[in-house]
Amino acid sequence: MAFQSTADNIKDLKASFSRGKLTAYFYLLPSGLFLLVVLGFPILYSVFMSFQKYTLETLVSKQTEFIWLKNYTDVLSDPAFATALKHSLVFTIASILFQFTIGLGLAILFTKAFPMSNIMRGLLLSGWQIPSVVTGTLFLFLFNLDYGLINFVLTSLHIISEPIGWIVQSDTALTAVIIANIWLGIPFNLILLSAGVTGLPEDVYEAATVDGANGLEKLIYITIPLLKSTILAVLMLGFIYTLRVFDLIWIITKGGPGSATEVLPTFAYRLSFINFNFGRSAAVSVIMLLILLVGAILYLRAIMSEEKL
């Protein structure tokens, strides 16, 4: 082969690579600068704004006033924040619980081939890249009180006795957005968990079968322990991606009715673009960022234990 690498030209290559350090920075410069301005700056500026009295007037007059932790104490003593935080946790934990369980179940189901398994697996991923705005409008229709499909199916199954106004009732609205979000998240969980499950050694399962283990026992004693770090990574990614969900909720309920589906992102958005209290909104964002950071650290530890970056 013409491109066969020998020890010599590997050495040459290494030498040219160390000479290439400047080249490396040159190649990185465009994205580095871009990300610094469009991602790095906003994060720092959010922190900066969260210490200021920053309202619509500030935007016009450009006169800022430092009030340090006042925004944070205001936010933390605001019952609306407590509500949003509670909804965020319920939304995130319930969504992940179901997405993950369904995803893992399906991933295990598809480990062995059966008729049409590839086609069905492909179909189960079809919603993966669909914009949340489509999911939002679609579930708005499915949850409709009078002619929504969901009410019809549930009443035919006698699970509910009469149609529920899922989105317009404050006691069911959060459940409705959670269901929409579960649907949205299944492909993501299925893909990541499939990658983990198919990598597991076959012979362990065969040995367990010989020993008389049933499906449930195999799941608890083999699959879950072997997949520990993958599971942790998927859960943490799910946590991060679900906690920040804004569009789906804004499209279906706008955080309502009342504040029934208000979560941290919709709360922060409302403070900024409806109440024009940018400073306080930034404080909410920063608090959210800190929560996400904990998730991110756990996630990074999970993937680092699998492979070095």
Partner: protein, 318 residues
Amino acid sequence: MKEAHIGTFVRSAWGLITNTIFSTIFAGRYERGGTAKRARVETFARFAIALLATVIYLLPLFWMVSTSLKPQSEIFQTPPVLIPEHPQIDSYRSALGLPTDRPELYITGALYFKNSFVIASSTMLLTLVLAVPAAYALSRFNFRGKTTFMLFLLVAQMLPGVLLVIPLFVLFKILGLYNTHFSVILADTALALPFAIIILRTSFMQIPDALEEAGLIDGATRLQVLWYIILPLIRASLVAVGVFSFLTAWGEFVFALSFLAKPELHPISIGVFQFIGMYKTQWDTMMAFSTLVAIPAILALLFLQRQFISGLTSGSVK
């Protein structure tokens, strides 16, 4: 399809799932037959559960398309009609703002699609232009700050849009980019870029260093080698990353909502609100619009499923 309709279907499907789930979970217990029979039962159980899961999962999408093709009278019918008996496509004409004989407000649907296309394709180009050199550098050179940069990229993917939107709003106001597509393109690129770099880096790493060495010895510059030798080899990844960036911007919501106040600049994600509750919601038109919005995403997944999957797994768990 009139009376013995969905209700019966749902009930019998429910019976099927409970049976198969139990028989699969306890398969190890009550199987006394030979292994061949046991394998057959298991295969069937897997097939049945998968089929049911697929049907339930696809039902919302099926319902979207089906509703978009129904005349108004069938939309509001109870029990619901599964497949439209008298299909119509006026909903699609009206979703695109083409003239119909319906007494509806004129909605500039086609304009929303044009705006989204402009935003999404610009985002795709900008993302590729920025990601290729960065991913190349990360795959080929060792330098100070490399791990930090990689970590930054991983964390950057996780930032909530709402966190970015407030300071970017202020920044774009100052720079005079508020109410321009460019503001949304910049923000969308920031969303797509970290993932694009991570994925392209993995692809570059699969190309042997010796290829470049050969090119460099022949007197080509590094940029020439990258352009003429390496990039053609990772074409598939470039297409997948490009399409991924396109789709990121195609459905993006919060930046468009916040940076674009002029209706004539609105993309599809904001335009869809035009269909909700003007007088009453035009469900068929809205579902037609949603179907059109979903088509690029479904097509992309159909053709690029393998690349997307390997991209996601290499970029997040492996």
